[in-house]
């Protein structure tokens, strides 16, 4: 342990492993780096090498009413979707794993099916049925649509945790005097929480980044950020797009970190 680094023999395997990891990291971060360069470059087009550093695109992003309105709307929708999909997905997962439901495999596949369908079709189908049923396109319709897509993520992560769940732990609690409700809140929930929460983070990001489903369901002046960015891009392809992307990435990251702080992402060793 205390041998100085320079005395350690050269370990090919270890070096290769480190190299591979660095390569993967670069691969994952390169697109973000490119976006950042574009966002800070003063020219209104992608030029390499960059000719300078400016914050004008960020200023433009924050000063454009459409961007700000859609950013808040997207955040608000994503927050609602997170809560809804955690509740619905978590409850569905518990029912599927615990309830002695007939046709469980079918039901699981059914709940997962929004993932199988191209999202653009889901959006189009919902758009059509909303219009035909006279609902129109209210914000809650959009939230429901996002939730539909997000629930499978929560369902999947929660089912994975429940699959490895030792039910004796719940039995131990009940024999110690915990009523079924207390067992749920004292034992079941804390233990499946990492799975539910991981799914919730997915749900948030899926909603925040959602384009195909939103495409048909947004109304004029009620567009979400991805839709606004897409339309913006058709007319003005400048650094504001990149600035918006950077802000989105940072916001998503911040939300994940805050939730992590609040709820805790760590999985338990013995489940």
């Amino acid at each position: 342990m205390s041998t100085p680094l320079n005395k350690q023999p050269f370990d090919l395997g270890k070096t290769a492993y480190l190299g591979l990891n660095l390569l993967l990291l670069a691969f994952l971060l390169a697109p973000i780096a490119i976006v950042l360069v574009f966002a800070l470059n003063p020219t209104p087009y992608i030029s390499f090498p960059p000719v300078g550093v400016t914050l004008r695109w960020f200023v433009k992003f924050f000063e454009t009413g459409d961007f700000m309105r859609s950013l808040w709307l997207s955040l608000w929708i994503a927050a609602c979707v997170l809560v809804l999909s955690v509740v619905i997905g978590g409850a569905c997962a518990l029912a599927l794993a615990r309830g002695h439901l007939p046709g469980r495999a079918f039901l699981t596949a059914f709940f997962m099916s929004p993932l199988m369908l191209p999202a653009i079709l889901t959006g189009l189908a919902l758009f059509q049925s909303y219009l035909l049923s006279g609902i129109g396109r209210p914000v809650w319709g959009l939230i429901m649509a996002h939730t539909l897509i997000a629930v499978p993520y929560v369902l999947r992560t929660t089912l994975a945790v429940l699959h490895n769940f030792d039910r004796r732990i719940e039995e131990a609690a009940s024999v110690l005097g915990a009523s079924p409700v207390r067992v749920f809140f004292e034992v079941t929930l804390p233990l499946i929480q990492p799975g539910v929460f991981a799914g919730g983070v997915f749900a948030f990001i899926v909603s925040f980044d959602q384009f195909p489903v939103s495409l048909f369901l947004v109304v004029p002046k009620g567009e979400t950020l991805p839709v606004v960015l897409f339309n913006y891009m058709k007319f003005d392809l400048d650094g504001a797009i990149a600035a918006a992307s950077m802000v989105s990435i940072l916001l998503a990251l911040a939300v994940v970190l805050v939730l992590e702080r609040l709820i805790g992402l760590k999985a338990y060793v013995k489940l």
């Binding site: 020219t43 209104p44 087009y45 992608i46 030029s47 309105r69 808040w72 709307l73 608000w76 189009l124 758009f127 059509q128 219009l131 035909l132 209210p138 914000v139 809650w140 939230i143 495409l215 048909f216 947004v218 109304v219 004029p220 002046k221 009620g222 567009e223 839709v227 606004v228 897409f230 339309n231 913006y232 891009m233 058709k234 007319f235 003005d236 392809l237 400048d238």
Partner: protein
């Protein structure tokens, strides 16, 4: 954000009141005392800014209505899915090719005449020609944009794009998704073959243009020229003219001698619209000389109304005289759309290799 609270009590009350009314009269309820709403589509970017800041508020005030302007694509599929007797849009604003798609399904009207829209009497013939459904309120000219600082001879003909020196530095569009690319393909048929519909000649000519940089959004070509990734490419005039004055960039536009292709801004009305009169009034308004001037000078589009007088610098470059308008070539989108799938397959194969 606070304006649209999904579960507001009043919203619920209104919904249930509406349902009750609908149930008791057995017919779609018309709740009066509400101002009429005109639902339109419109572009974003600078155009959208002018519309939102000036053009639409003025129209709303004039007609005591509200305008709900959708800037989120895709317009035609959305219109297609909505009920015909209660369409999502009253006025559809698209380029010409999409109007032709929409008219096939009866989503928009065939023709708009001076009877419904008086200002149509003052438009250039192209704006209501047999190549147009609805009425074109502006047009751009599709020609060649080029860098003035890269030591190339300024192009004069569409054929100049094939100059071997431009290999890899010429720009075009992904033909399946971009109507400028589609126009260019037809133009290739005309200059290298028997006419706009000579696809075989067009395919052969396209093959000769490789290697070529392709973009999908129209706006991207502008950026490619600005960054000099493309030295010469197919583009609409407004995408080059707007870089003038303080925004001056080393780019220029050429109207090739063989003629320019028309990129029309078309307005049309959905037959099922509940506010048809208002829809026609809106189109008439958009054709009014003062509105035409404002938008034309704002985004460098050539106005369709003959009576519009632009400032000298715009007048010099845009298509504002019958002679200049005569250089416009209008593609037959009905013909093109009918073959689009075959063409897409073919050009994808050509450009992939």
């Amino acid at each position: 954000m606070t304006t649209r609270h999904p579960f507001s009590r009043r919203g619920l009350l209104r919904t249930s009141a509406g349902l009750a009314a609908a149930a008791s009269f057995g017919a779609p309820s018309i709740l009066h005392a509400e101002t009429k709403t005109l639902k339109i589509t419109t572009w974003g970017g600078k155009w959208g800014d002018i519309m939102k800041a000036t053009v639409l508020p003025a129209f709303e005030k004039e007609h005591g209505c509200t305008v709900s302007a959708d800037q989120a694509f895709p317009f035609v599929p959305k219109l297609q899915v909505s009920p015909k007797n209660d369409p999502l849009y009253d006025v559809l604003h698209t380029n010409s090719n999409e109007q032709w798609l929409a008219v096939v399904d009866g989503l928009v009207m065939d023709k708009i005449t001076a009877k419904e829209v008086p200002n149509v009497a003052d438009v250039y013939p192209y704006a209501v020609s047999d190549k147009i459904v609805g009425v074109s309120i502006f047009t751009s000219a599709i020609g060649l944009g080029y860098r003035t600082d890269k030591d190339i001879t300024p192009p004069k003909s569409w054929k100049d794009l094939a100059d071997p020196k431009l290999a890899g530095a010429r720009g075009g569009y992904l033909i399946p998704v971009n109507s400028l690319g589609q126009c260019h393909l037809m133009m290739l048929g005309k200059i290298y073959g028997k006419g706009l519909q000579d696809l075989d000649a067009a395919y052969k000519a396209l093959e000769q243009l490789k290697p070529i940089k392709l973009v999908d959004f129209t706006g991207q070509m502008e950026k490619m020229l600005l960054s000099a990734e493309v030295v010469e490419g197919v583009i609409h005039d407004s995408g080059v003219y707007r870089y003038e004055g303080a925004n001056r960039q080393p780019v220029d536009f050429c109207s090739p001698s063989e003629g320019v292709m028309a990129l029309e801004q078309v307005l049309n009305v959905a037959p099922g619209s509940k506010v048809k009169e208002l829809a026609f009034a809106y189109i008439d308004y958009m054709l009014r000389p003062d509105v035409q001037k404002l938008l034309a000078e704002g985004v460098w589009y050539s106005p369709a109304n003959k009576k519009v007088k632009l400032e000298a610098k715009y007048d010099a470059k845009l298509l504002t005289t019958p002679e200049k308008v005569a250089t416009l070539i209008q593609p037959d989108w009905k013909w093109y759309n009918a073959r689009k799938d075959d063409i897409d397959a073919r050009v994808t194969k050509i450009l992939k290799g």
